[in-house]
Amino acid sequence: MGTATTSERLQVKLGDITLKNPVMPASGCFGFGREYARFYDLSRLGAIAVKATTVEERLGNPTPRVAETEAGMLNAIGLQNPGMDSVIQEELPWLQQFDLPVFVNIAGTTVEDYVEVADTISRQPGVTALELNISCPNVKCGGISFGTDPQIAADLTREVKKVSRVPVFVKLSPNVTDIVSIATEVEKAGADGLSMINTLVGMRLDIRTGRPILSNQSGGLSGPAIKPVAIRMIWEVSQSVNIPIIGMGGIQNAEDVAEFFMAGASAVAIGTANFVNPYVCPEVIDSLPALLDDLGVDKISELTGRGWRR
């Protein structure tokens, strides 16, 4: 066993960004942190990815917005958020009390929207990076329409990179035929990293009414059910790009974190599991050192890509 201290064991790097540990809550599953700050000190987290932010306030979709599935859930929130001005005035300053890198997820309907949010948000103090949301399946325009065509995704990435003062991570959609081609195009366009995966489009019907349970009809599937899909995609993409990957999709415990690292991730985000256990993020962080001991690994960063590295 090596000689790294506990804090060194969990430290990871995403390009120039250093995280004290590799675990962050996933965007959309943690608001702007306020609700979970009632349960624990957010400074324990490796980072935070806050709720998708758009130029104007968005009220989202009608309810019902969630439906449970086998080991998962469908959501169709519809990017509800207070708009970037409110995020800048209320949420980002509040987050500065914590020792916490902040990834701001940004979304829009047009390229101009994305550029405006990126330009404005990336100037704010305390913003570590942008997470470019080109993969929300629950809004009619914008979101996923940018994430399913390699060229459109690359063009958007390029425009956002031109204005952003901070690194840009592009959050990829799994609802594509060839995720590797999108990842490599986005990398060529200047992305500093990738977040993957967003939710898978799915649907459930109420057999009493014969109608979809979600008012939006379809929604994004998350939770343990999608973990194998995420692992496969990260496995393929991480072997084709040279930028770091934040892995996500159904992570519930330290073993899942190790599996994502071995597939090729350099950090992870935990989403749906926060709803089941509000303490899941600090619990996973606290249980990582013992797992590293079990695996005979000194630093968690050594696990990245272990699955395919020869």
């Binding site: 599953c29 306020r34 609700e35 859930m73």
Partner: protein, 276 residues
């Protein structure tokens, strides 16, 4: 907003594996479970709910929001009454005394009762599985010397529960849709015939059509009235935005609020505060 300070119901929530004391069927598809644990110390506000993990694995994945029906602070026990609707509540209904249930709570803003004075008259209006939180509320009101009258509605005689318990707190009017017990019809049928004495405040929980009917009956008057809403929930703590509802036009104009989160701004709202 009925309580701008939020002081009244600002109870810290926690997570705990609580121990099943009893779990029994009390009506058609209706079960009453009593759980013991330290979280009970925090359950001082009637109208709050707990978010319950049904089973230990990933199926079912999400918690189930269930209202707190009664609290025994001395015994550190609370009671929740739930209807078996799907896999989660079915698993819950099969749990035995001594087994553990993971509970997150207490959550949400409960019924405001701080300003109630001895000698006032409160009417509790409940429909079906919306009746349970009104029992703990009724007990708290009676402790304060408030006179309590309950008007509770069910589908049929087999579905009636909490009638006797509520009778210990005051007058009870029961309605059933099929007339098999009590008055045939809806709770509003009892309220409109004038049998119930004039009241100072109305508290309600039940299906949306019932709450809408109450808004139609009393929404224009200045009657003090509160309703508790239900919705499919994700996190239960206000983060995921699954369970939102719309403020009424009046609320929107007065507060600028464009949505409420039922789990954390509610589940209790002023009768005129929300658009149903």
């Amino acid at each position: 907003m009925y309580d701008p300070t939020g002081q009244e119901t600002l109870c810290p929530a926690g997570v705990e594996d609580m121990t099943v004391v009893t779990n029994e069927r009390i009506a058609e598809r209706i079960f009453r479970m009593t759980l013991a644990g330290n979280l009970v110390d925090k359950m001082v506000c009637p109208g709050q709910f707990v978010h319950v993990k049904c089973g230990s694995g990933s199926v079912p994945l999400l918690r189930r929001p269930i209202s707190i029906s009664d609290v025994d602070a001395d015994q550190q026990q609370f009671t929740m009454i739930y209807r078996v609707e799907g896999e989660g509540t079915r698993l819950l209904s099969r749990m035995h005394p001594g087994e553990q249930v993971n509970v997150l709570g207490p959550l949400g803003q409960g019924y405001p009762i701080k300003q109630r004075k001895s000698g006032e008259h409160a009417v509790l209006v409940g429909g079906g599985v919306g009746v349970p939180p009104l029992y703990y509320l009724g007990r708290k009101l009676v402790e304060k010397g408030v006179r309590v009258t309950s008007v509770i509605g069910f589908g049929s005689r087999e579905q009636v529960f909490l009638e006797n318990e509520l009778k210990e707190l005051g007058d009870v009017y029961v309605t059933t849709m099929d007339g098999s017990h009590g008055t045939r019809g809806l709770v509003t049928d009892v309220l409109t015939v004038g049998d119930v004495d004039p009241w100072d405040v109305l508290y309600s929980c039940g299906p949306i059509p019932m709450l809408k009917a109450l808004q139609e009956l009393y929404g224009k008057e200045q009657t003090e009235a509160y309703i508790s809403l239900e919705q499919r929930m994700g996190c239960g703590v206000g983060a995921c935005l699954a369970c939102v509802c719309h403020p009424s036009e009046e609320t929107r104009q007065n507060t600028g609020k464009r949505y409420f989160k039922i789990c954390s701004d509610g589940p209790v709202f002023g009768l005129r505060e929300v658009a149903l």
